[in-house]
């Protein structure tokens, strides 16, 4: 029972932390539910990775179980660039889903012409409101998000979770 209570408290921070699965904003990352769990395990080691096709060489994002270009399932994990430039961005004060603290900053990130991942909508954290500028350089950062309980052979197992975002390389004064 103690573990379940812990999970409820660590759930989506709505309705006193009790309302978890219906409004979960994070992926089910654990091996029991996700064949791409390696992505999240790599996050825990500070690596930003995805799957590359061994047959045709295509690097997909997000990662998958097959290559979306040639449908081969012969894939390997490769690292992606961890720095990008802000092309455009938006700051939300009101209306951000509960669990995303305002200001919620999302930016259109350019990883450069040599990157297999060209662009991404990335959340910018550790950045005060009004400080981000177009052209700023940002870097990959990993953080803990609420754990998720799953049932394994009638036992409750708590799956710790992580996610990633980006933060300014030069900290605003």
């Amino acid at each position: 029972m103690a573990d379940i209570q812990k999970a409820q408290i660590e759930g989506t921070p709505a309705l006193d932390g009790r309302y978890i699965s219906e409004m979960d904003m994070w992926p089910l990352e654990c091996q029991e539910f996700n064949r791409n769990y390696q992505f999240y395990d790599n996050l825990r080691e500070g690596r930003f990775t995805t799957t590359k096709c061994q047959k045709c060489g295509y690097i997909a994002f997000p990662p998958g179980v097959i290559c979306p270009k040639c449908w081969s399932d012969d894939l390997e994990w490769v690292d992606l660039p961890q720095r990008a430039r802000v092309v455009a961005f938006t700051e939300t004060q009101a209306g951000a889903p509960i669990g995303f603290e305002p200001p919620l900053i999302m930016a259109w990130l350019d990883f450069g012409k040599d990157s297999p991942l060209k662009h991404l909508l990335g959340r910018i954290i550790n950045c005060p409101e009004g400080k981000l500028k177009e052209g700023d350089e940002v870097k990959f950062v990993v953080f803990d998000v609420p754990a998720h309980p799953i049932e394994v052979k009638r036992e409750t197992k708590i799956c710790d979770r992580v996610y990633y975002a980006f933060e300014p390389v030069e900290k605003a004064a």
């Binding site: 219906e22 409004m23 904003m25 994070w26 992926p27 994002f61 997000p62 092309v87 455009a88 961005f89 938006t90 700051e91 939300t92 209306g95 951000a96 889903p97 509960i98 995303f100 919620l104 999302m106 259109w108 991942l117 060209k118 662009h119 991404l120 909508l121 990335g122 959340r123 177009e134 996610y163 975002a165």
Partner: protein
């Protein structure tokens, strides 16, 4: 299967859109009643095909296999098709594309396409979590992409920077659409009118958007009848409105796969439109009246460009020129669009197509002078999918 006939849109009906004190199925019954009033000769049991277009029915109304519920409530006895369809914001225009194929191949005779959403729940902000599920939940949504205004505001800032588009130009869209919607009793914001000054001085939602740059989420339902030209002549004396051509295109589910150079370029819409124009044997200059997906003012501006109504980057000038007004070269969103009507995702497409049906039959409230060709467009989610349907008073030869 060879094409056996030409599909037409016969007529339809729309419920009141807004924050409704009603269940999903109540609103579908209202739309069906309005559809029946529009086509008095049609009996429920004449309908042999049903396509129910909804995204939220499962989550918000506890109704996952929605089509049988609609069968029961409307007294239908479908024999050729009975399905639910989900393409989010494009729901019922996708349903019309499917219905055209079913009718023209001979599989179905008379198809009811209905779209409906119950957006608002007792805990209102729960809808914000649903919004995390209509995009790519595990990737973009986990970055905070939920409610649409921030994403489209970013697109607007990009468009302003690259093409010089201004807030005043965007206000021309909201003013035109509010003023069209002020004559549409089913519109969410009926009978509100709007001036440029009011639009520009309203409270900020997400820079550069003020309140009036954004469409509201709404509860509501719509229903249209798609049938063959032969059956249409049995059921109605009105001029026939043919579904001349359609196109639907998707390239990605999340930002990493975005097909444009920047978020201000929507090549996937351009492609969907090219396919629809080719199938309809028309070009952009032939479009007399259109209903486009104005979820935000910037959306309508970019759509003017990608649909070929003006050059890329000139959408702001185009909407500010008056071209979109009732006396302009190409009136747009003549029933109020999403901005005034509101946006019950699955219901919006059939609402648009019904307005175009009425325009081509000469019976719209804001009637355009003698239109021959009309176009409907939806985008879905964060511009993930684009859907185009072209109607005409004559079939494709």
């Amino acid at each position: 299967m060879a094409k056996r006939t030409n599909a037409v849109i016969l007529g339809g009906g729309v419920s009141k859109f807004g924050v409704r004190q009603a269940h999903l199925l109540d609103m579908i019954q209202e739309a069906a009643k309005a559809c029946s009033d529009d086509i008095p000769a049609l009996k429920p049991t004449d309908i042999d095909g049903l396509i129910v277009c909804t995204t939220l029915a499962g989550r918000h109304s506890n109704a996952l296999n929605t089509a049988p519920l609609v069968v029961h409530r409307l007294g239908l006895r479908p024999t050729s098709i009975c399905i639910r369809l989900d393409t989010l914001c494009a729901g019922s225009n996708s349903g019309i594309i499917v219905a055209k194929g079913l009718v023209e191949s001979g599989i179905s005779d008379i198809v009811l396409v209905t779209g409906a959403e119950k957006v608002y729940l007792p805990q209102r902000w729960e809808t914000n979590y649903t919004q995390l599920m209509v995009n790519d939940h595990d990737w973009d949504s986990a970055m905070g992409l939920g409610v649409p205004p921030p994403f489209f505001a970013m697109i607007a800032r990009m468009h302003m920077k690259r093409y010089g588009t201004t807030k005043e130009q965007m206000a021309h869209v909201s003013v035109a659409n509010y003023n069209y919607g002020s004559t549409n009793p089913n519109a969410h914001f009926y009978p509100r009118t709007l001036t440029i000054e009011e639009a520009l001085s309203a409270r900020l939602i997400a820079d550069p958007f003020t309140l009036f740059d954004c469409c509201p989420l709404s509860d509501g339902a719509s229903a249209v009848i798609i049938t063959s030209e032969e059956r249409a002549k049995d059921l109605s004396d009105r001029p026939l409105v043919y579904i001349r051509g359609t196109g639907q295109h998707a390239t990605h589910s999340m930002s990493a796969g975005w097909p444009g150079e920047t978020p201000a370029e929507w090549p996937h819409l351009k492609k969907a439109a090219e396919v629809a124009y080719k199938n309809a044997r028309v070009s952009p200059k032939d479009i007399d009246v259109a209903q486009v997906h104005d979820c935000f003012t910037i959306s309508q501006i970019i759509e003017m460009e990608e649909l070929g109504f003006c050059q890329k980057g000139e959408g702001g000038d185009y909407v500010a020129s008056g071209a979109i007004n009732i006396d302009g070269e190409r009136p747009i969103n003549t029933d109020g669009g999403l901005i005034s009507c509101g946006h019950p995702f699955g219901a919006s497409g059939a609402r648009q197509s019904l307005e175009l049906c009425k325009q081509l039959q000469g019976r719209a409230i804001n009637q355009v002078k003698d239109p021959k060709i009309a176009l409907a467009h939806n985008l879905s989610g964060a511009s993930a999918q684009h859907t185009v349907v072209i109607y005409g008073t004559e079939p494709v030869e």
